[in-house]
């Protein structure tokens, strides 16, 4: 709405209310003051709600209807004018506000009437209001209502007849009672058949309709009788003021929308990352207050919601509306069409859902990538191990074998020349010695590349061999004799090997203990010593031998820990997952 139209609407509303006070005369009896002040208060509330509704729902007729009720509430004040035309119009207009109120109630919450029957009911409301009013005016002499000669004339008066006037009033009251009952029943039915957001929007209207409907019935019936002043004051002075509940309806709906907006924000913040779509839908539905909300994804056979129901976004069921979500995944929200009155709420919900789904998708992607990286790291280490095994075997089958043969050949050559050519014999002996040393070095090199004993005998034999070669006194407290996958054996072996090497090099320990325990789902390797301790645990993170070892253990999916208080020895523990 433009600023100009808004200013115009406000000016009109203010002018109408001010006009009331200009023309309306304060009542002579002070107890009627409530009616004199209550009428413009109710009207002003409707006018304000009308402007607010226009701003809030520019495309809906609700703003118009609220305003209409407001203006029609003020219109009868024209009869205060000391003028026959104003007096006539003011008196004829009295029932119009009630008809507009019924129209508003039936059109809530979208502003549109739902069926031809309901349009008929509303038409009947206006027709009865205008028709009976005009008809009654034909017979109404203002003197019937205690008006003296100072009253302006009823311009419509054809033939003053109290009997005819009473008859028209009775018929009007009867028609009003029927129409009021129909309107209230229709409103209750709207509420009962509504689902989700619309049902919540309808709930306060039902109470308000029951109250205003009851008031209307009482007024219609009591209007036919001459009541004692107090009863008249209550039924015709106070009671009509309950129509102020109409604008309250607007306030409740505005608060609802604001609350839903806040709840959506909180729900999205509280939703745990990677929550399944079903949980996302439940959270959104709860926050929004639309229990019918559906979150549907495109699959091979079209869209399916989180409960497994097929959904056709192109042709939603009656009373349902669809909003597409953005993001890599094709998804829609299907919601109660009543929510279309709150487009910002729909947009907010869609944005929240899109964001949550995108978040979940990205998280799943990162998780999948992490799994791939983990698997490829394990494969790289395994491939490295396999390559080292192959290298060791190649050395064994090739160079070592040839050096052995060479050693034998030199030995034979030496025995051939023994005692014949001492110089040559010495030369060959020296060559043989060199060959043997080369063989020893090559054997150590091969063992460093990959311990054949691990392949041959598994952890039990390999750890035994490590212990035998260690310069420190090492006790094996436990080691499983069974075989494990090569990667696991190699990882456990390198933990023990590196730990014993560190013990020998740095720990200044007298004894050390090695244990490898088979636990459910894992292999627990532990090497402890009684040395100086004080190994910096943070070295695990830096480029030391321990860091390399930690990487190696991590590549098998395990964890390496160092516990090394100064002066109290060092304990290195590795937990390696093991099927």
């Amino acid at each position: 709405m433009s600023r100009r139209s808004l200013t115009g609407l406000i000016a009109a509303a203010v002018a109408a209310t001010a006009g009331y006070f200009l023309v309306a005369r304060p009542p002579g009896i002070s107890s009627y003051l409530v009616f004199y002040l209550g009428t413009p208060a109710v009207a002003a509330a409707f006018l304000a709600a009308g402007i607010a509704a226009w701003l809030r729902w520019p495309s809906s007729r609700l703003g118009l209807l609220f305003s209409l009720v407001g203006y029609l509430t003020l219109l009868p004040a024209l009869d205060y004018l000391n003028d026959a035309a104003g007096f006539t119009i003011g008196n004829a207009a009295v029932p119009l506000a009630g008809a507009a109120l019924a129209h508003l109630g039936l059109a809530w919450p979208t502003g549109r009437l739902r069926s031809r029957f309901e349009r008929g009911v509303v038409l009947a409301e206006y027709a009865c209001a205008v028709g009976f009013s005009l008809l009654g005016m034909l017979f109404w002499d203002p003197a019937f209502s205690g008006c003296d000669a100072s009253c302006p004339a009823n311009l419509l008066l054809v033939h003053g007849s109290r009997a005819a006037w009473d008859a028209v009033n009775e018929a009007s009251a009867a028609a009003n009672v029927v129409l009021t009952v129909i309107v209230v029943i229709l409103i209750v039915r709207h509420w009962r058949s509504a689902r989700g957001w619309s049902r919540r929007a309808m709930a306060p209207l039902v109470w308000i309709a029951l109250v205003i409907g009851a008031e209307s019935l009482v007024t219609d019936v009591t209007g036919l009788y001459r009541l004692p002043p107090m009863a008249n004051l209550i039924f015709n002075g106070w009671a009509p003021l309950v129509t102020v509940l109409g604008p309250v309806l607007f306030v409740i709906s505005a608060i609802r929308a604001r609350t839903a907006r806040g709840a959506l924000g909180t729900a999205i913040v509280d939703l745990e990352p990677g929550a399944p779509p079903g949980r996302l839908r439940d959270t959104l539905a709860r926050a929004l207050g639309d229990s019918t909300l559906q979150l549907a994804f495109r699959g091979a056979d079209g869209f399916t919601d989180t409960a497994g129901l097929a959904v056709d976004p192109a042709q939603p069921d009656p009373g349902r509306a669809v909003v597409e979500l953005t993001g890599a995944q094709e998804a829609v929200l299907v919601y109660d069409a009543g929510l279309d009155l709150e487009p910002h709420l729909v947009r907010l919900t869609a944005a929240a859902a899109s964001m949550a789904l995108e978040h979940s998708r990205l998280q799943a992607e990162v998780q999948a990538q992490l799994e791939l990286v983990r698997a490829s790291r394990a494969r790289i280490v395994e491939a490295g191990d396999a390559e080292r095994r192959r290298l060791e075997r190649d050395l064994h089958d090739g160079a070592q074998q040839r050096l052995v043969t060479l050693t034998l050949a030199l030995g034979m050559a030496r025995s051939r020349v023994a005692g014949v050519d001492p110089e040559l014999e010495a030369l060959i002996e020296a060559a043989g010695k060199e060959a043997k040393e080369a063989l020893t070095e090559l054997r150590e090199l091969a063992r460093g590349i990959h311990p054949a004993v691990l392949t041959e005998t598994g952890l039990a034999g390999a750890v035994q061999a490590l212990v035998e070669r260690s310069p420190t006194v090492v006790e094996i407290t436990e080691v499983p004799r069974e075989r494990f996958p090569a990667m696991i054996e190699a990882t456990a072996y390198f933990v023990v090997s590196e730990a014993l090497a560190n013990v020998a090099k740095h720990a200044r320990a007298d004894t050390a203990q090695v244990s490898i325990r088979r636990l459910p789902g894992r292999l627990a390797v532990q090497v402890s010593d009684d040395g100086a301790g004080g190994v910096d645990g943070t070295r695990l993170a830096r480029g030391s031998g321990l860091a390399g070892l930690a990487d190696r253990v991590a590549s098998a999916g395990g964890v390496l820990r160092v516990d090394s208080p100064p002066g109290a020895g060092t304990r290195l523990e590795a937990d390696i997952p093991c099927p």
Binding site: H396, D397, Q400, Q401, R402, L403, V404, T405, T407, L408, A409, G411, M412, S415, A435, K436, L439, R443, A446, R447, P451, A452, V453, E456, T457, A460, G461, A462, Q464, A465, E468, R469
Partner: protein, 132 residues
């Protein structure tokens, strides 16, 4: 007739067999050769060596398996009353690796012991034939 001085060299490496044969023949042994585990069992049955120098890494079975089969073969022969002597041949495992690379597997095999290939000599083998 089984001869204490007859040796069966089991190794898939031709060069090694050739030089080992030369060395052992020069040391006074009669030498037969086999290149695979299966061939070893066959040759042992016909030649009946007093000692089998058995490489651990063979193309078909490993040396431990061949040793087990040779021992089983000797047991069968003894039960069939063919026992011309007590027990089968003395089995000596050998490898370019050293004994520690095989952990406890050597001691738990029916072999009499292990001799690294580069330490092979007639004298070293004789020590296995005449235990102290």
């Amino acid at each position: 007739v089984q001869s204490a001085a007859s040796i069966l060299i089991v190794d898939d490496h031709d060069g090694f067999r050739t030089f080992a044969r030369g060395m052992l023949e020069a040391a006074g042994f009669t030498v037969a050769e086999a290149a695979t585990g299966a061939e070893a069992a066959e040759t042992a049955r016909s030649v009946r060596p007093g000692l089998v120098l058995l490489d651990i890494q063979l193309p078909d079975f490993d040396g431990f398996e061949v040793a087990r089969r040779l021992a089983a073969q000797a047991e069968e022969a003894a039960q069939a009353g063919e026992a011309a002597r007590a027990g089968g041949p003395v089995i000596v495992l050998t490898s370019t690796r050293d004994a520690s690379d095989y952990g406890g597997r050597i001691s738990s095999s029916p072999a009499a012991g292990f001799l690294p290939k580069d330490q092979l000599s007639g004298a070293a083998l004789r020590r296995f034939l005449t235990p102290p």
